[in-house]
Symmetry: C2
Subunit: 220 residues, 2 copies
Amino acid sequence: MPRLKVFDDCINELSRLPGVGRKTATRLAMHILRQDNTYATRLSSSIQALKERTRFCDLCGGLAESALCGVCSDPYRQKHTICIVADAQDILAIEQTARFRGVYHALGGALSPMDGIGPEELRMDELLDRIRGTLSSAESAESAEPAEDKVEVEIIIATNHDIEGDTTALYLQRILREFAHNEGATIHISRIASGLPAGSHIEYADELTIFKAMEGRRRV
Amino acid sequence: MPRLKVFDDCINELSRLPGVGRKTATRLAMHILRQDNTYATRLSSSIQALKERTRFCDLCGGLAESALCGVCSDPYRQKHTICIVADAQDILAIEQTARFRGVYHALGGALSPMDGIGPEELRMDELLDRIRGTLSSAESAESAEPAEDKVEVEIIIATNHDIEGDTTALYLQRILREFAHNEGATIHISRIASGLPAGSHIEYADELTIFKAMEGRRRV
């Protein structure tokens, strides 16, 4: 039997998705075929709409519907508290907690010399420009006040707790300290905690997680 | 930040795919966003085209572009050799080998009492009707010849080698034997072999596979 071109086309496109091989793509396509007629239409139009009506924020690199995302354009978010993440989806995950009141900066990945991803491939310069902007806008706003009232920026490094994320966090610390020194600014830098996941048992945790949880213990 | 509706819509539709949870759907959506503009269009239109231009064959239940699939409408395929599979995608897998010259019959699943799938949920009656049709059409074609020249049908059971597949195979054997007896027809029934996968090592195979391979040994 000659294979159906329309079927193979769909398999080809689906198997370009991350983690989807040809077998999985076939399973997905068969699933789509078995659903009622509206599902394929809803799925395909939602994909089309997503791409047409979504973009990345000019400032933070997060998901946006216009030039600035909802966080960056929100006047109530604290612009001097910047949470640095690797990717835009990390912003979504942190926003789910609905606790963070600062803004974000997505680097567009994490340092990975093995994959040829160095600082130049990431939005590092944009980060420093942003901090510089935050410092100067705060200074001009406070220009009436005495100059001794120093502007402070808080940076929260929220990269993954894996090798690439650790490397990126170390690199960020270094350039941010250097930047603070050169600009004469005060930058508080922290990194999100490593430890036992909520609801987990010590008994089943791996050694490295327990070690990190012990190391990062907090006074109670 | 209010979540983007267009993003959530896409996540909702993607997470209805089998094996795709909300986390995976988010990853897929972000991937789609990162590709060039044409990918989202190609993906969505291929899904739409798949659903619009593909259907299931009226006869065998396999993938088709019209009422009959490429196999059923091929005059060179042997209509008296029927390979029974659980699902339409199994037909694609067997066709890939390009060796089988008979036709197929997709049951639309496998027996699974736990999931409430009994013989009534599967295309069992359609199978018997088809065999009856094959027998009578062959008979009428051979009407000029002496009636002693008995029509024979070959059935190859190609259900999965798991509990549901085994149960379905046993059930098929029973109803086919009964059918052959009632109709006075000769039906040769076989099931595809269980054994070591091609290129695999005995050392690493599981016990059940080795047992099945021993049990199903062939004289050489």
